[in-house]
């Protein structure tokens, strides 16, 4: 396997943006990510993006977003209708071929124009589930109930939310941050029993960009590249009623394949509070050893189709800054943690 590293990362602020379109949101983020490398998007060997046309409300919306990259002369480019973390996976695979040394990965999405809970229903079985239009919050809440009834406490959920908001205070791109009291959180009314509003993610619009480079090229472009030591993704059985919702078998397997061990910091893509605990447990992470979601995570800021790539970027950024030597970044897709990607990053 060829050594590939994250050499640059940038993200937009994430909040409902009723002013700019996706291209306008992406342009400054691309510029910010390219600047430290001294390269242009034209210098990249391969470009891959992650987004959802259903989110944008327009077929081939991802093609319009290419304007932001300035793809002339024509570039080698691909796209996944998924979170940008999977676009990064494709770019990583492409770099393994050995004929190119750099790749540009970007993700974008505006959740605010539509009803994101309803848009995500498009991911469900089109014959026997989607016609009922179950929304993303209801499905996550079903999983939360299974998890709570397996012997967990809603106090754990409050702890996750409080930690997320507190960590997000140090994140200029986060949407929700603050010092919140766990007891006060538990006093809030239930929203989608058993979940409270704060157990659910905010509606965020945003974009993120990661630059990958291989071998010596990575060392030229970055003082301390964040090396991808392992990357793997797995998917659970599609039918919700056939899955054990209290654990994430796909995360566990992806974590084993990616080589999760001795982790200093973890960025876990958990849009719902109980999901952070399920993912951490599935990866075998101990809070005493590992700092979890120092960015605040997806509970603080959840641009759909972007938040997973942001987890990789946030973990990589901290590795490059010397805040840790070994990190894990996780991304999820589909209802109730159906599909999961795990990436292990190292500074040396």
């Amino acid at each position: 396997m060829r050594d590939v590293a994250v050499v640059s990362f940038a993200q937009s602020a994430t909040r409902r943006d009723q002013t700019r379109n996706e291209v306008e949101i992406l342009l400054p983020v691309l510029r910010e990510a390219m600047e430290p490398t001294g390269l242009t998007t034209q210098d990249m060997g391969f470009t891959c993006s992650g987004s959802s046309d259903y989110l944008a409300g327009q077929a081939f919306a991802f093609v319009s977003a290419l304007d932001a990259v300035g793809p002339w002369p024509p570039i080698q480019e691909s796209h996944v209708e998924m979170d940008g973390a999977w676009a990064l996976y494709e770019a990583w695979v492409r770099l393994q071929h050995g004929d190119i040394d750099t790749a540009l990965v970007y993700a974008f999405g505006k959740s605010s124009p539509g009803d994101v809970g309803r848009v995500l229903s498009m991911q469900l079985d089109p014959y026997v589930v989607a016609p009922l239009w179950p929304d993303a919050v209801s499905l996550a809440a079903l999983q939360a109930r299974s998890w709570l009834e397996a012997g967990h406490s809603e106090k754990d959920l409050a702890r996750v939310v409080a930690r997320s908001r507190r960590n997000a205070l140090g994140n200029p791109h986060a949407q929700l941050s603050g010092d919140v009291d766990e007891e006060a959180l538990l006093d809030e009314p239930l929203y989608a029993d058993p979940l409270r509003k704060h157990d659910c993610p905010p509606i965020s619009d945003g974009a993120a960009v990661v630059v990958l480079a291989a071998g010596d090229r990575a060392r030229e472009l970055c003082d301390r590249p964040a090396w991808i030591r392992g990357i793997d993704h797995r998917i659970d059985v599609q039918a919700l009623g056939s899955r054990d919702l209290t654990t994430s078998a796909s995360t566990r397997l992806a974590g084993q394949r990616a080589g999760v061990r001795d982790i200093d910091l973890a960025e876990l893509h958990a849009p719902f509070s109980h999901q952070e605990l399920i993912v951490a447990e599935s990866l075998g992470l101990e809070e005493s050893r590992t700092t979890i979601n120092p960015s605040g995570g997806a509970l603080a800021s959840n641009p759909v189709m972007v938040a997973g790539l942001v987890r990789i970027g946030e973990a990589a950024r901290r590795i490059s800054a010397g805040e840790g030597d070994r990190a894990v970044a996780h991304a999820t897709s589909g209802p109730a943690l159906q599909q999961n990607l795990v990436c292990v990053l190292e500074g040396t």
């Binding site: 002013t19 306008e24 409300g57 290419l66 304007d67 932001a68 300035g70 793809p71 539509g114 309803r118």
Partner: protein
């Protein structure tokens, strides 16, 4: 006993509050005022009509707003013999790509005021707008273009846009 089920119809409808973005909004506001507003790329200097946010060739944000003329050159066209959705029109009709003077991108506009078999590339045209009281935030305020009667433009002046 009925036949077994072999198919289902699953209608999908998703609703949005769509915002076109900053520079497209400026373009649409311009149309409401009877102006065609493009934006210039600070890197290559091209003027895009309508502007979508950044120069799609350079990947650079637009800055300068540029009003272009509502007269221009017909760079290419198609003679259409089939009606299209939502419009009833005399057939055949001519659908043209017009390079408005000052713009570096063409716009698709209906061509009227001339027999279909007399239309040619390079023909000089001008916009016929709907009555002012019907103007909205839309390019459709320009109902069609018609020939100005000027001599045809030189091929060299528009060949890049064909």
């Amino acid at each position: 006993m009925s036949d077994p089920v072999t198919g289902i119809i699953t209608p999908i409808r998703l609703d949005y509050t769509y915002t076109p973005g900053t520079s497209p909004s400026a373009f649409l506001r311009g149309m409401k005022d009877g102006k065609i507003l493009g934006r210039r790329c600070p890197s290559c200097g091209k003027v895009y009509v309508p502007p979508r946010g950044g120069c799609p060739m350079c990947g650079v944000e637009f800055a300068e707003e540029v009003q272009v003329s509502d007269s221009g050159t017909l760079v290419t066209f198609a003679v259409v013999n089939v009606n299209f959705a939502n419009r009833v029109i005399d057939l055949p009709y001519v659908s043209g790509e017009v390079l408005f003077d000052g713009a570096d991108t063409t716009s698709m506009v209906l061509v009227q005021g001339i027999a279909a078999d007399e239309v040619r590339m390079g023909m000089r045209v001008t916009a016929h707008w709907l009555p002012r009281e019907e103007w909205d935030f839309t390019f459709a305020n320009i109902d069609y273009v018609e020939p100005t009667g000027e001599p045809d433009a030189d091929y060299a002046s528009y060949k890049e846009h064909v």
